[in-house]
Subunit: 199 residues, 2 copies
Amino acid sequence: MKTPTSLDDLIDALRCLPGVGPRSAQRMAYHLLQRDHAGAERLASSLAYALGHIRHCEKCNNFTEDMICELCRSQRRDAALLCVVEMPADLLMMEQAHCYQGMYFVLMGRLSPLDGIGPREIHLDRLVKRAQDGVIREVVLATNFTVEGEATAHYISELLSNKGLKITRIARGLPVGGELEHVDSGTLAQAVFERREIS
Amino acid sequence: MKTPTSLDDLIDALRCLPGVGPRSAQRMAYHLLQRDHAGAERLASSLAYALGHIRHCEKCNNFTEDMICELCRSQRRDAALLCVVEMPADLLMMEQAHCYQGMYFVLMGRLSPLDGIGPREIHLDRLVKRAQDGVIREVVLATNFTVEGEATAHYISELLSNKGLKITRIARGLPVGGELEHVDSGTLAQAVFERREIS
């Protein structure tokens, strides 16, 4: 007794999705074929379309359908500021916070030697070139405060030192509305260590 | 600042997969576009191919690329036995256990009125017709021992009663190698309740 080959192929293909093992790939395939033909058709076509049309912006490296993305083309952004984030989702979070009006560079990852992700994979050569366009004055490092994000920020700050640029890192500390009682001790320790003079 | 429309479309389309919310859909889309173009192309094409070629076997309702699947066409199976399972994965488990040589009927679900899945959705009309082909003598109900699987088995046994068929249910009890100390009390209670005379 064999499953039809094209069903096996589909189950196998679904496993390229992150976090999807053999069991959930099987469940997904059954669901698509049994209950959601319309959704499956839409998935197949939008996947094919995205593969054909989405590329990386030549300036900020974010996903776009153009050579240069809308944000990089905008005249209303501060071209002297360059914020470095790990992923497009981080850029969206920054934009939703309405706290920043400069340009971006999206690494599409973070340094992670064990996963084979080195400086080349996160396009640091392009970042260095981008940061030295003569207009950028400050590079804001907004990678995550994880071990890998911190290492990435440190590595970039070394790469860009002595180039006449101001290199900054977003602040670490208690969240807005945060209570000392409920914050983890590492965060509290950092908040004390990085305390600011306020008067 | 907008994400490119085709990226939004892809993220949206990925949400048709069971268990995939907005966050993981985004993560999947980024992963496919950034790190696995080959996998994404394979997924798009195998999905399109499967949609075009996979249908339900007219006899057992399992997925197949033919009108009647290989198992139903086989001459080596016992045509007098019909085993009812919920999903294709259950059929595979039965086959892997090498315990059964009869035919199958795959419900592609279980009765679940709250999810809008009634007798029609699990093709009980076709099952009743299939069971009365004149060759089938025994129907083995092998739905899961969940509340819904049990309700489904009960419903089917009512449907098929007084039709001259033997209706059986696979046994419930301790697993092979199971120890009383480590089994849940519900299973143990059933094992005692359904005890068999052995000499």
